[in-house]
Symmetry: C2
Subunit: 147 residues, 2 copies
């Protein structure tokens, strides 16, 4: 059973402690499952992954746990589809560029320093106080076969 990397786990545990909740085996399994999705996912898909890994969760619990992970900064919500929320393991820096295939959910974080400068410029030129940016570049990934 591969464990998620320490930092994620620590982040989650710290948050749970801060709000007076416990790091239960259930929640550990959910974190584990989220980490092993390896791509953006919906709550539904996370629930399926939990079942596959043994020991599912009710809809209510799944949603509650996902929210906890978002609050903890372990997951971030990404907006691809108006109807269903998608999540992924957080990039952690609040800003980021992500190549994203809307169909498969596959993601690839990329970097481009020039973009952050441009974004900052756009904000200031409108008189806004720049904080950060998030870019989703929608694209079809090369070959769906080779995950």
């Amino acid at each position: 059973m591969t464990q998620p990397p320490g930092p994620l786990c620590a982040l989650f545990r710290r948050h749970l402690r801060d709000v007076g909740l416990k790091y239960t085996p259930e929640r550990a399994r959910t974190l584990d499952a989220a980490f092993h999705m390896g791509r953006a996912f919906e709550v539904d898909e996370l629930m399926q992954e939990l079942v596959v890994r043994g020991g599912g969760a009710s809809k209510a619990t799944a949603y509650r746990t996902v929210r906890l992970m978002v609050d903890a900064g372990v997951l971030e919500q990404i907006l691809i589809d108006k109807d269903r929320a998608h999540y992924r393991i957080s990039t952690g820096d609040g800003s980021g560029i992500t190549l994203l295939d809307p169909e498969t959910g596959k993601m690839l974080p990329v970097d481009d320093p020039a973009l952050s400068e441009i974004c900052r410029g756009i904000a200031t030129s409108h008189g806004w106080n720049y904080r950060g940016f998030r870019i989703h570049i929608m694209a079809s990934s090369p070959t769906p076969d080779q995950s």
Copy 2:
């Protein structure tokens, strides 16, 4: 009564004709109102604007008309908030940049042709088939007083 620019109107009328519907005064007013929002808006806000301009619309009609405008390519849906759909006058290229104040929820769609080129470049340099991009620039909006 300021009319929306011809191209938008033409786009809308053409689509309506294509699907066998009419360009009624009601729809003209809705297009007009959407154009004059001058910012991203929710369906609710569009309904309020319609009331202000005289002659509101029922929830059902408002939603239906917004959908028609999206289908026509006059509006595009922007994904900022999971709970409510936001729309704005289409930039035409399926991509969009939005200034977003996380605290107030205020949004301002902006344009920057250079960015789409950069994003396209990023996607292709990774071997992905570019579709579009979405940029959220987080920033604090200026105080409303000095608008």
